[in-house]
């Protein structure tokens, strides 16, 4: 009796828990899968450095951290120029210029992939949702957005350039996903062993428990 009702409660709980955590965004996000392929992340660093860095800082990523995604010393030295290896990646535009152009300082991107629900999908969709009408740019995901169409996605309609742009956006999304959680791979790897260990230990304790309780029947 208790088991049946317990399972009914569990089902209801799952439904409610699911609804609590379900996505409530009105605009559907692109259903891209994050691969965390290292080459893609490396290309994404360059996309960020050449395009986004003008306005967006990445204060939690230091140049030396790029070693973790496969950059060697000379590649890092080339990227950082005069900045120290221990320095974080800062934006190039001054605060004053930002306020003049956009009325705000563009947000730091280090943890943007975690600061939005379904972050990676959000970033990808945002950067590929620019539309142009009569010389005015808009974004279907974020209508009053102040960021211009930096990848020119709204201008090019031929498939070759579109694909190239989508690859760029994909790469920078992979980089931003990594930068939001650089320990993700290590975490999942360790988790494998921890959970396997605990399943084994649980099983062992189960049998010890059964044997101990069998004494009661004697």
């Amino acid at each position: 009796m208790m088991n049946k009702t317990a399972s009914i409660i569990s089902i209801f709980s799952m439904l409610f828990i699911q609804s609590v955590f379900a996505s409530s965004s009105a605009i559907p996000l692109a259903d891209i899968e994050v691969s965390q392929d290292q080459q893609s992340i490396k290309r994404g660093v360059l996309v960020y450095h050449n395009t986004c860095r003008l306005c967006h800082s990445m204060k939690y990523i230091k140049y030396q951290h790029l070693e973790q995604i496969g950059f060697n010393e000379s590649e890092i030295d080339k990227l950082r120029g005069n900045a120290l290896k221990t320095a974080a990646m800062t934006r190039l535009m001054s605060d004053d210029a930002s306020y003049e152009l956009y009325g705000m300082v563009p947000p730091d991107l280090s943890i943007m992939a975690k600061a939005r629900k379904h972050g990676p999908q959000y970033i990808y969709t945002l950067m590929t949702s620019y539309k142009e009408k009569d010389g005015v740019y808009s974004n279907t995901l974020f209508p009053g957005i102040k960021m211009p169409d930096v990848f020119d996605g709204s201008t090019y309609t031929d498939s070759a350039t579109k694909v190239a742009i989508e690859v760029k956006v994909r790469d920078v999304t992979e980089f931003l996903t990594w930068s939001a959680d650089p320990r993700a791979a290590e975490r999942k790897n360790l988790g494998k062993y921890v959970i396997a260990y605990l399943i084994i230990l649980s099983t062992m304790f189960y049998f010890v428990m059964k044997r101990v309780w069998r004494r009661l029947d004697e």
């Binding site: 230091k62 290896k85 084994i200 230990l201 010890v208």
Partner: protein, 174 residues
Amino acid sequence: MADDKNSPEDPQRRDFILNSATGVVAGAGVLTACWPFISSMNPSSDVLSKSTTEASLKGIRPGESKTVEWQGKPVFLVRRTEKQIAAMEGDGEGKDPQADADRVQNPDWLVVVGICTHLGCVPSRKKEGWMCPCHGSVYDNSGRVLSGPAPTNLELPPYEFVSADKIIIGRAKS
């Protein structure tokens, strides 16, 4: 319990093996679980990155010196003139004789930790060396102690020239 005490089918022996094995596995897990916490108290990666510091030698003219920070300590970088290098030849006249040639990689540049070996104050730069304001120890242009209560010469940090005007302090010459 008709079984022999130590035969493998003896339930008590089986129990003992199962219980001990479980105990060992559980204990190993508990010990392993301690490691992340102990490790978290070790220097974090940003502190470790401070174990080496890049120091630019640009703009220091002969006879001038500059102080940089390495691992929270001051390091004196001195660009010595020909005269100063010549004056430092030999083992020095202090209580801790050491050849100047053994204290520099490039005689033009002296790199020493700027902490007096007496009680840790930062010596002040003088014309030909340093003088510690706390108890009066005097050092020459090779960082060797000449007089005062300091027992030994100024410490030599590991460092490496990565170019003519840049050194990395904290990394020994490979």
